[in-house]
């Protein structure tokens, strides 16, 4: 059984402790989200899990067959157009060129990009378009574990909804697991089986929320109810310092 196991993970940048004693397990087919304040170490945690940073203390065991990463800041190749950017992941896996391009075009359309955008370079794309290209590049490789760093942050609600559905579909189809970061609690509730709440300075997990209803069967009302509930949660209020707002 494929899984990602993080045990007693602690990480420093220089002398600053960024992550402190993180523990969790991600099983096959599971969607796990990480929420927490900005600068709390979420991206760092994701990079460690994906092997982009070296683990210093503790351990990470990743037995997933393949992974793909959608970065927070896009990281598109500036000298490649939209389709060629999406295709790089497939080409790196050894896929044939025309096959890779066909798949890339298909997913680009599904991600709401238009044919006239296909030949544009990243410099001519909007922030949300770049984000979609970055996301599509990762998803199109059909990894068994997908890392997503705030993939929806620059998108409008309509696009978000479409992409949620798309993501859940391919999740089911390929039994894909997802580890993703978001600032949107409602989004986390909509998609995840488990939510890790990461408190800052240094980043540590203060609470885990679990949702048993399968994520493709969650109705709007369920999501609103749970969102209202989670916003009352003491740990959430504490971590995001929501109470100080009320005092003002």
């Amino acid at each position: 059984m494929e899984s990602l196991e993080v045990k007693n993970l602690t990480h420093h940048f220089g002398f600053t402790e960024i992550l402190h004693n993180i523990n969790f397990t991600l099983k096959k087919g599971e969607v796990l989200s990480v929420v927490g304040p900005s600068g709390g170490g979420k991206t760092t945690l994701l990079h460690l899990c994906a092997g982009l940073l070296d683990v210093e203390e503790g351990s990470i065991q990743n037995s997933f067959k393949s992974t793909a990463f959608a970065f927070q800041e896009g990281r598109l190749l500036p000298w490649k157009n939209v389709i060629d950017n999406i295709a790089v992941g497939l080409l790196a896996k050894g896929e044939k060129k025309d096959e890779a391009l066909k798949k890339s075009q298909k997913i680009a359309l599904e991600f709401g990009l238009e044919e006239e955008d296909f030949t544009k370079y990243p410099k001519d794309l909007s922030g949300g378009m770049k984000q979609r290209v970055n996301f599509a590049r990762a998803l199109v490789t059909k990894p068994s574990l997908l890392f997503l760093d705030e993939p929806f942050s620059a998108l409008d609600i309509g696009l978000k909804k479409e992409l949620y559905a798309h993501l859940l579909d391919s999740c089911k189809e390929n039994e894909m697991s997802i580890l993703f970061i978001t600032h949107d609690l409602m989004e986390a509730i909509r998609l995840s089986d488990k939510i890790l709440l990461l408190k800052a300075d240094p980043g540590h997990i203060v609470k885990t929320f679990e949702y048993d209803t399968p994520n493709d069967k969650r109705e709007e009302i369920f999501i609103y109810e749970q969102s209202a509930k989670i916003l009352q949660d003491k740990e959430i209020i504490d971590t995001f310092e929501l109470n100080t707002l009320e005092l003002i």
């Binding site: 990281r75 000298w79 990243p122």
Partner: protein
């Protein structure tokens, strides 16, 4: 191949955009003619006279031979700079120590006036091809070296990480991640290196040889033959403009479409 085709396809549009350049060239010639009317034929022969002289010169086999000699020296010097400047610059860029060590050397090479090099080269190599080629190399090598070095040093670490995360092959890393970035630095350096080589070759010939276009220029000067001097200058300028605007610029445009 597809790429070459695209360059050719966009070429007419590029030429069309050259109207402005043609207009300013004609304006320049008009001013030149005005200068001739003010200062007289000895100081500044009219454009017409210059072009006539040029026309007669171009009929002469000997002139072509001189042009050949100069071209040969410039291309050997520039070719050497291109080869070694690019390769050494890349190497220096990939290793932090090498780039630190090369810094003072580059500063010396860039900072030293070419005229001083010519004097040294004349002492070392005497009068002839070697002196000229040496000076050309010394002048254009550092430009290309610095271009290659900068290109390599400024590679984006985030993109490397991205390539890593998708498991790019060695081949893809080089051609899709490193090469386009480095090329966008190295290509302009080649262009300015070439311009430099062309200027220096004339200067070195003028001072250190008895053949080539520079030497012709020296002769024209000693005989106060201003039309010939100007005709020679016209040859030098048009040939450089041809290479820059007709050959290099279209390539550069295609290669750098992605640039903001």
């Amino acid at each position: 191949m597809k790429f070459l085709f695209k360059i050719l396809k966009d070429f007419p549009a590029y030429l069309w955009s050259g109207w402005g350049a043609i207009a300013s060239t004609l304006l320049f010639i008009a001013l030149w003619d005005l200068g001739n009317q003010v200062y007289g034929n000895l100081v500044l022969p009219s454009p017409l006279e210059t072009f006539k002289t040029l026309y007669i010169m171009l009929q002469d086999k000997d002139v072509w031979q001189q042009i050949d000699i100069t071209l040969y020296r410039a291309s050997v010097g520039f070719g050497l700079s291109l080869l070694f400047g690019s390769i050494l610059g890349l190497i220096a860029g990939f290793f932090a120590t090498a780039s630190m060590m090369s810094r003072p050397i580059v500063t010396i090479l860039v900072g030293m006036p070419p005229i001083a090099w010519i004097v040294l080269a004349m002492i070392w190599f005497g009068m002839g091809d070697e002196t000229v080629i040496f000076t050309v190399v010394v002048a254009s090598f550092p430009i290309i070296f610095v271009g290659a070095l900068q290109g390599t040093r400024t590679l984006d670490g985030d993109l490397k990480e991205m390539a890593e995360s998708f498991g790019f092959t060695w081949y893809m890393k080089f051609f899709d991640v490193y090469f386009p970035h480095i090329f966008s630095y190295i290509f302009p350096a080649w262009v300015s290196g070439l311009g430099m080589a062309w200027k220096i070759v004339i200067m070195a010939e003028l001072l250190a040889t008895s053949d080539g276009m520079g030497a012709e220029l020296a002769i024209a000067r000693s005989q106060l033959d201003t039309p010939t001097a100007l005709a020679l200058v016209t040859i030098m300028i048009t040939s450089l403009m041809f290479i820059e605007y007709i050959v290099l610029e279209p390539i550069k445009r295609e290669v750098e479409l992605w640039r903001a």
